[in-house]
């Protein structure tokens, strides 16, 4: 059984059409899944439904064998952590230390254990030297790292990133992407990341493409990016190396549709020396 099982999930905002329209997918434990789609495609709504912040209209969400409903909500909440888009609006404490403690207080962690937990997870995201800093003195990337530490401190099984890098500068984006990759590799957390970042998509295990509230495509990045027609129809961007490979193929040079530039260059070198 997969860690997350979503079946026929539907949701509509007040008086509106279905924002999420019979969405089904499953995520095995330990996978890194990216969710892509245009603004308004229902990505964030799916994330909020999974985190129990919105109540579904119909369908089912089963997490770790438990159906997500009002009764199980509190129990499941400690298994799912979510990091949002805006770094300022999720910083609740007055200092880094207090912000990480906030979630611990809510989960009734004994006070004596808090300092150890705070120091462990602030170190994990590289913020241990900033524990007494106030949010106004931190960069966007640093605030997001604190948000990640705050979520990790509650020992979740699933981490959801809801466009967590989209408001950051390139440096901040890199910081956060590195932290996400590191968490995926080292701690085997299941990660769901909503993103517009093509590089992040190519480095994930699986991709879920949403369009107008429906699942348009799913599969590995290679599988998804091979669906040219569909991608063109929903006007989603593809990696640069794919664009170049497609152009080369059009011109009679048959190369593999490599997802990375390094892969494509290798491919071209092979052709270059073989012939």
């Amino acid at each position: 059984m997969a860690l997350i099982e979503v079946k026929d999930l539907c949701f509509a905002y007040e008086g509106d059409n279905l924002a999420v329209d019979h969405v089904s997918f499953s995520v095995p434990e330990g996978q890194y899944v990216t969710i892509i789609g245009h603004n308004g495609s229902g990505k964030s709504t799916v994330a909020k439904l999974l985190a129990g912040l919105l109540e579904k209209k119909s369908g089912s969400i089963v997490i770790d064998g438990l159906e997500l409903n009002q009764k199980n909500l509190h129990q499941l909440r400690s298994r799912i952590g979510i990091v949002f888009q805006n770094p300022d609006n999720q910083f609740i404490g007055s200092t880094v230390r207090d912000d990480i403690a906030f979630g611990l207080e809510n989960h009734c962690v004994p006070q004596e254990q808090m300092d150890d937990i705070i120091s462990e997870f602030s170190t994990r995201v590289g913020m241990s030297e900033f524990l007494d800093k106030e949010p106004t003195h931190l960069s966007g990337g640093q605030k997001q790292r604190v948000a990640i530490a705050g979520v990790l401190a509650m020992a979740p099984k699933i981490l959801i990133f809801d466009e967590a890098t989209s408001m950051l500068d390139p440096q901040g984006k890199d910081e956060i992407k590195r932290v996400i990759m590191d968490l995926h590799r080292k701690s085997g957390l299941t990660i769901l990341s909503i993103t517009h970042d093509i590089d992040e998509v190519t480095s994930s295990d699986n991709v879920l493409v949403l369009a107008e509230g429906k699942v348009a495509l799913t599969g590995t990045p290679a599988e998804v990016f091979s669906q040219e027609k569909m991608l063109k129809k929903i006007r989603l961007d593809i990696p640069f190396s794919l664009k170049l490979a497609d152009e080369l193929n059009k011109r009679g040079v048959s190369v593999n549709r490599e997802l990375t530039m390094e892969g494509l260059v290798k491919e071209l070198c092979r052709l270059h020396s073989n012939m």
Binding site: F240, L244, V265, H272, M275
Partner: protein
């Protein structure tokens, strides 16, 4: 008349413990009629720099020359208002400045502040809506109910309706999806090419700089470190790497190919060109 900064410094909270030098002795000329990208890390002074262009911020030292005016440190410039009509400044996340009941009224707000009559303001607003690709069906809708991308277009139309000669945009594509970014950037490109507006864009997105801009100014710690044309700037990755900037994908690819023994000419500036060149080389080999 070019836009020029002459020995401009800007100090925030001077004389308090929070004193912060945001610009330090900046001397810089910006080309007229072109699209200039202003890049640099967060805190390098980009936003402070552009806020001098419509005198939202006044220099602590030095002077700013823009259109036919001089804004000098220490003097209170007269007729600020007309300058603000000529230099349109769009802030980061401009959707947060919408407040009127309808889209049309909100866009007409700017021109009306500059003394344009009600009817003319509405006319200008309609033209601006057309420019940003908002159909007439949006006129009577509340700007607060639109989607993020639509709101941003309304906000930008609000500045365009003032018909400024210079358009300054602070990270206009932040938070937009790739499709929205594309639409926004091609709009600025069109405005520049069709009506000759001088456009300044503060941005972090090198792909956009490479595709749409003519000139690049690099800010570093309150000073312009470099000003050059886009072709020179992206000739290869070295300049970007030196500045700790990720170069556009095409440039990275060209460099990687060169390192692996391919010859790639400098002129190639898009995927098609590169594919053509590579196809020629691989086939000739065979």
């Amino acid at each position: 008349m070019p836009i020029a900064f002459e020995h401009v410094s800007h100090i925030y909270n001077d004389g308090t413990p929070y004193r912060h030098v945001a610009l330090e002795d900046v001397s810089l000329e910006l080309a007229e009629g072109k699209i200039t990208a202003i890049i640099g890390q967060t805190g390098s002074g980009k936003s402070t720099l552009v806020q001098h262009l419509n005198a939202l911020l006044l220099p602590s030292a030095g002077k700013v020359l823009i259109l036919d005016r001089t804004i000098e440190a220490g003097s209170q410039p007269k007729q600020l208002k007309s300058l603000r009509g000529q230099v349109g400044l769009v802030f980061q996340f401009p959707e947060y400045q919408l407040f009127e009941e309808t889209v049309l009224k909100d866009i007409a707000f700017g021109p009306k502040n500059f003394g344009v009559s009600e009817e003319d303001a509405a006319k200008k607003a309609r033209t601006a809506m057309q420019m940003v690709g908002l159909g007439p069906e949006f006129e009577e809708r509340s700007p607060l109910e639109l989607s993020g991308g639509q709101k941003r277009r309304v906000a930008i139309a609000g500045i365009l309706a003032m018909d400024p000669a210079v358009l300054v945009l602070d990270e206009p594509t932040a938070g937009l999806d790739p499709q929205g970014t594309e639409q926004m950037m091609s709009l600025f490109h069109r405005l520049n090419r069709e009506s000759g507006k001088t456009i300044l864009i503060v941005t972090h997105d090198m792909e956009q700089v490479y595709r749409y801009c003519d000139e690049v100014v690099v800010m570093e710690q309150g000073k312009p470190k470099l000003r050059t044309d886009v072709q020179t700037f992206f000739h290869d990755s070295s300049l970007c790497r030196e500045l700790n900037i990720l170069p556009p994908a095409l440039i990275r690819m060209k460099d990687m190919l060169r390192e692996n023994g391919f010859t790639v000419s400098d002129e190639i500036s898009d995927v098609n060109g590169l594919a053509k060149e590579l196809a020629r080389q691989v086939k000739r080999h065979g």
